[in-house]
């Protein structure tokens, strides 16, 4: 019988030096991500989700609800992003597919599709404003807000965790470019 070494997981920015200073930039550990599609008007779909998520299904684009270690984020009229611990993805997928039964809904593992960059520091909003046409001011995008937007040439799911911290969820293959772009934008705040 063959024995294999323990699998080693890697993320796209694993080898990049962290940006640390008045602003810091780091790649977050890989999280579990599930792309959900369904009809918010279909009670079977809503019930299947509420079995896992206490509280109402978010139906406003950008709205996000948290439940334990997981969160559910409305990305479009029929699209949600479920975020959970990486280890929980397999069970979550199985549970959801069971719960969906015959209703027209899908759950797809996209944990590896994206990685998340955390940008922190006083000038976080200033840096973001160099990359996105979205209003990222404290008034237009208060702490807790999230949006799918364009940053430089990337599509990004942007989550304003706090006033001084944003998490940017970006495609694996766009991550290095976005990282470099953020470093350049942060330059004036990090001397």
């Amino acid at each position: 019988m063959n024995t294999f070494p323990t699998p080693v997981a890697r993320t796209p920015l694993a080898d990049l030096p962290l940006l640390l200073g008045a602003l810091s930039l780091e790649e977050r550990p890989l999280s579990g991500k599930v792309s959900l599609r369904g009809n918010a008007g279909d009670s079977a779909f809503v019930e299947a989700l509420s079995a896992r998520f206490s509280g109402a299904l978010p139906t406003q684009v950008g709205q996000r609800v948290e439940s334990g270690q997981a969160s559910l984020w409305c990305l479009g009229p029929d699209e949600w992003r479920l975020q959970c611990e990486l280890d929980a993805v397999e069970d979550t997928l199985a549970q959801l597919r069971d719960a969906f039964g015959q209703c027209h809904a899908s759950a797809v593992d996209v944990s590896d599709y994206y990685t998340e960059l955390a940008l922190s520091g006083q000038a976080t909003r200033d840096v973001l404003a160099k990359l996105t046409p979205l209003d990222v001011s404290a008034e237009g995008f208060p702490a807790g807000s999230q949006a799918a937007t364009r940053m430089a040439k990337c599509s990004v799911l942007l989550h304003m965790v706090r006033d001084d911290q944003a998490v940017l969820c970006v495609r694996w293959s766009h991550a290095e470019y976005l990282w470099d772009y953020l470093c350049e934008a942060a330059r004036e705040y990090n001397h």
Binding site: M1, N2, F4, P5, T6, P7, V8, A9, R10, T11, P12, D15, L30, S35, R37, H104, A105, S106, V108, D109, V110, S111, D112, Y113, Y114, A129, K130, T132, P133, L134, D135, S137, E139, G140, A152, K153, C154, R171, W172, S173, H174, E176, Y177, L178, D180, Y181, E184, A185, R187, E188, N190, H191
Partner: protein, 997 residues
């Protein structure tokens, strides 16, 4: 050099520090707070450039960004920037500037012969003189561009950094003069998110060059108070040194902020030189002020003749005056302030007013200050010899068309004029706003604006020239309650006498004296009349024929004068002439600002697979495929590409090879109607596909043309995994969504991109299974996982999806693992493959191997005009299906006709000759092109596996299927003529046995 023209006191400059700078190789000094223009004026330098067409000497006209003459080549080498206005360059220590458009030197300029020959350079001279004979235009153009030009563009890469930044103000205020400051303050007090931009380094606008009082304090103290209050508001952003250059649809505006440009080359490594702001503003207040227009009198372009308001600005803002004996020529009251203020500073001032009387207050003030007034008079000539010597003044006739009586010579060393004021309506005009003609001040002011670009104009840019009104209007636009700031009501312009062309002692345009209305493009009143005589009556035609108001100047000082001149000569009213459109940019902006951060590695993303770094570490040579970097081949020491690819190709056919296929597009499809959807998307039938099976398909667009291909696998009852070409991933997903959303919204299908979820490794070759088996305990035998089968297994401890699909014709396994394990599993495969002499191969080998099998690459062997039939793939087009996308187009007369280009194989007569891809196949060889072309080579390689090693090619040739066995001719681009035999495109394993082994 001493600053002889510097006044002993006054100005907003820091006299405690002295800055040194160079202009045309000479060293001068100035003070912080100076512009290059004010510092040169202080040093008595009046000659700053040569004019565009006639190479006449030119000096300063203005004090702001409307300056048309003093265009400067700033700095040298990589940092050089042409066409910067001396009036907008803040002085810094070590500044190096040069005048433009002169050769060999500014003082002795050979191009001045253009001026003596000026009757050969009339309006439209480009069109008239040089378009014939046509073949010489290229020669003419070269000479003309050199002779009539602006600055020199930099030859070296720009070493500076630039960036873009977005902002979304509720209220964007453009201009920080009295009206703009009042608007910003009002908006701030109303709690709005305000952005205030101004092109000057300080706030204040026109207040910086005046002696007004606001709310009982000096204007400058009031400005300081406003600045302090705005700084307190957290939602207010004040951007100085920032020029709003463009106003676009839906209140999208751009502005260039000079972040460090005013500090000199590479002042900071961390800050950008310039920052381009992109505003999306809820509302916009334009408070851009007004630009004074000159009077169009004889030789009014001589250095030392400025705008009246500019002289006043130089005095109050910079503590400098252009001379000791000043002549002020005006048709309105506003220039009286200039005369009075200059006289108060000890300058001998003569005021020439074309009116018989001025306003009471103006006359009283002038008399009290000791200004000599010459009423009802006009300047009819200028003596200039290395500086102004005197002006000629004569009495003006009542109708303004003649001058009479004796000539009075007024000695002077400087002069200025005021012909009235033009509201700076440029941004309003860019925003598609209309203009209205003001009868009392004889100028254009903003009227209605487009609903998609809501804004208001306040203060002088709205044609409201009194300070009090400007403050009121600005305050109201800002939205605050409470009383507006107030100032003494001053009728600043008084009764203006329109005098579009000032007559002189010879008919205008027929003697030696020139009457310029447009300085930057060297256009005179006579040019306008000529254009009119030649039929260019429309103002837009006149503008282009005479170049009035074109290019970087955009008619700031000239536009209304030009329209007035045309109106008076045609005997119609000014509004009847119409207006031209002002276009962005308001002032030129650098390419650096336009590009921003988006250059070098930030120009575009480079997409890399999870296995990329391993490949780079192991000597892969990469190629660009879409945005991706893909390993092309892995040369061993001493190998070139050909050698490496031959080795890799042979190893795969004889043993096993490993290939990174992660870039392939992947789409997860779920729902009851996926099978139905696949039947519509692909040409073949999908109904019978069992769970765990894969099938290849071709996608057509509505025109029946192949646009993508790939393998789709049924992984569960209503769950499929589709693959697309690398470049087609986004296009196919968009295609699916478009049909689902627009035509088939009732179909139950969800499509989710999973391209980057999976790292994909393809094991190909007779020993592929052996490598796989070393890494799994699951059964991957031919029975358990046959050709076109699918299975989920544990591979090296990682959950993997394995597809038995092949792009080489060999036994093959496409292994998909979550991207995070891509590198790990790859390394395990490399280790396991060592026992089987496994080769790592790249895209070049993949291309050769698939060509040996006659497998197409969409986009290489097809070009958007190929049907499945053209590609000899009729076998994959279902004859039974009722419909699929593109089906109806396959029976159109053109798609079903004979003689279409068809995909065939080609074997060159010389087996060592690899035909160039793109080489033409001709039906008849001739001595020289053109030759009747019947097709071209689409793919061509050296194959080590065919006939013990020979070249192979794929080609599309008219009626190719029927030509199999024929010889065709290919004239190559290097002159060689070669022959090739048309053959079947499958060169290896025609029976297709190996793939099933």
């Amino acid at each position: 050099m001493t600053q002889d023209n510097r006044l002993p006191a006054g100005g907003l400059i820091d006299r405690s520090r002295t800055l040194s700078f160079e202009f045309d190789g000479k060293t001068y000094t100035g003070h912080p707070g100076d512009t290059l223009a004010s510092a040169l004026m202080a040093n008595g330098v009046t000659l700053l450039g040569r004019s565009f067409k006639y190479h006449r000497p030119r000096g300063l006209l203005a004090a702001g960004s409307e300056e048309p003459n003093a265009l400067i080549q700033l700095e040298r080498g990589a940092h050089t920037e042409p066409n910067t206005r001396a009036t907008a360059i803040e002085l810094y220590d070590g500044l190096n500037a040069c005048s433009q458009n002169r050769w060999p030197s500014l003082k002795y300029d050979i191009g001045v012969v253009n001026s003596w020959l000026s009757r050969f350079f009339p309006a439209g001279f480009y069109y008239k003189t040089f378009m014939w004979p046509e073949r010489l235009w290229m020669t003419y153009e070269h000479v003309i561009r050199r002779a009539a030009g602006l600055g020199v563009s930099p030859r070296l890469p720009d070493p500076d950094r630039y960036e873009h930044r977005h902002d979304q103000p509720e209220l964007l205020v453009v201009g920080a003069g009295p009206a703009g400051l009042a608007a910003a303050l009002s908006g701030a007090r109303a709690g709005k998110r305000v952005v205030l931009v101004d092109e000057n380094p300080q706030l204040g606008g026109s207040l910086l060059g005046s002696r007004d009082t606001i709310d009982g304090q000096s204007a400058l103290d009031w400005v300081a108070g406003v600045r302090a209050e705005l700084a307190e508001h957290p939602c207010v952003r004040v951007l100085t040194r920032t020029t709003l250059t463009g106003y676009f649809d839906y209140n999208y505006l751009i502005a260039t902020e000079h972040v460090t440009a005013h500090l000199g080359p590479q002042a900071s490594d961390d800050l950008p030189r310039q920052r381009l702001w992109k505003f999306r503003a809820k509302s916009v207040v334009l408070a851009t002020g007004a630009i004074e227009r000159p009077l169009v009198f004889a030789d009014n372009d001589r250095p030392g003749i400025l705008l009246a308001s500019a002289v006043r600005t130089y005095q109050h803002r910079f503590g400098v005056l252009p001379g000791r004996r000043l002549v002020v020529f005006t048709n309105n009251d506003s220039a009286y302030s200039t005369a009075i203020d200059a006289a108060s500073a000890g300058v001998a001032v003569t005021l020439v007013d074309c009116r018989d009387t001025a306003g009471d207050a103006a006359e009283r003030g002038a008399d009290a200050a000791g200004v000599t007034r010459m009423m009802g008079s006009a300047i009819t000539g200028v003596s200039y010899r290395n500086g102004l010597q005197s002006v000629d003044v004569m009495a003006l006739s009542a109708d303004g068309t003649r001058v009479d009586g004796p000539v009075q010579k007024v000695p002077c060393d400087s002069a200025c004029s005021s012909g009235g004021w033009n509201p700076a309506v440029h941004l309003h005009s860019q925003a598609k706003g209309k203009l209205r003609w003001l009868e009392d001040t004889h100028t254009y002011a903003p009227a209605a604006c487009a609903s998609t670009m809501p804004h208001s104009s306040v203060g002088a840019c709205d044609g409201e020239f009194s300070l009090d009104q400007a403050l009121n209007a600005g305050w109201a636009a800002g939205g605050a309650t409470g009383p507006a700031p107030s100032a003494e009501r001053v009728a600043s312009i008084g009764a203006l006498r329109p005098l579009w062309v000032v007559p002189c002692d010879h008919p205008v345009g027929e003697g030696p004296k020139k009457h310029f209305h447009e300085f930057q493009n060297d256009a005179t009143a006579a040019d306008l009349w000529l254009a009119q005589r030649e039929g260019f009556e429309s103002i837009e035609h006149t503008k282009r024929y005479t170049t009035t108001g074109m290019a970087t100047d955009q008619g700031k000082t000239s536009n209304v004068n030009a329209i007035g001149i045309l109106a008076s000569s045609r005997g119609i009213t000014v509004p009847e002439v119409g207006v031209t459109t002002f276009r962005p940019p308001y002032t030129p902006l650098t390419f650096g600002a336009i590009v921003g951060q988006n250059r070098r590695h930030l120009f575009h993303m480079v997409r890399k697979t999870p296995i990329h770094d391993w490949q780079a570490d192991h000597g892969a040579v990469f190629e660009d495929v879409g945005d991706w970097k893909r390993a092309r081949y892995y040369p061993k020491p001493g190998e070139d590409m050909d050698a490496a690819v031959r080795r890799e190709c042979q190893a795969v056919r004889e043993g096993v090879g490993l290939f990174d296929a992660s870039t392939l597009g992947k789409i997860d499809l779920q729902g009851e109607d996926v099978a139905w959807l696949l039947d519509m998307l692909y040409t073949n039938a999908w109904g019978g596909l069992a769970v765990g099976k894969c099938r290849y398909g071709l996608m057509l667009n509505e025109h029946g043309m192949v646009f993508d291909d790939g393998v789709t696998t049924r992984v569960a009852e209503n769950h499929y995994h589709m693959t697309t070409t690398t470049g087609g991933a986004a296009r196919v997903l968009g295609w699916i969504e478009e049909w689902l959303q627009t035509e088939w919204p009732d179909k139950r299908v969800h499509a989710t991109s999973v391209t980057e979820q999976w790292a994909v490794m393809a094991l190909n070759g007779p020993r592929a299974r052996a490598v796989l088996e070393a890494l799994t305990e699951d059964d991957v035998s031919n029975d358990a996982l046959p050709f076109m089968g699918f299975k989920e297994i544990q591979l090296a401890g990682v959950p993997a999806r394995v597809f038995r699909i092949s792009f080489t014709g060999e036994q093959a396994f496409e292994v998909n693992v979550p991207a995070r394990y891509g590198r790990f599993v790859w390394e395990q495969m490399v280790a396991a493959g060592a026992a089987h002499d496994m080769v790592i191969y790249g895209t070049e080998t993949m291309h050769v191997l698939r060509a040996e099998k006659g497998f197409i690459i969409v986009g290489q062997d097809s070009d958007g005009t190929m049907t499945p039939s053209d590609l000899d793939m009729d076998w994959i087009v279902s004859k039974k299906k009722a419909d699929f996308l593109g089906k109806r187009s396959l029976t159109r007369s053109d798609t079903s006709r004979d003689g279409r280009k068809q995909l065939v194989g080609l074997l060159s007569e010389d087996p060592s000759l690899v035909l160039p891809e793109g080489a033409h196949v001709v039906s008849e060889l001739r001595a020289a092109p053109p030759m009747p072309m019947i097709g071209h080579v689409t793919s061509s390689y050296f194959s080590p596996n065919v006939d013990g090693g020979r070249s192979i090619a794929l080609a599309v040739i008219q009626g190719g299927f029927k030509r199999k066995g024929d010889w065709v001719d290919l004239p190559l681009i290097d002159g060689r003529r070669v022959r090739a035999k048309v053959v079947d495109p499958v060169f290896v394993d025609a029976a297709g046995e190996r793939v099933k082994s």
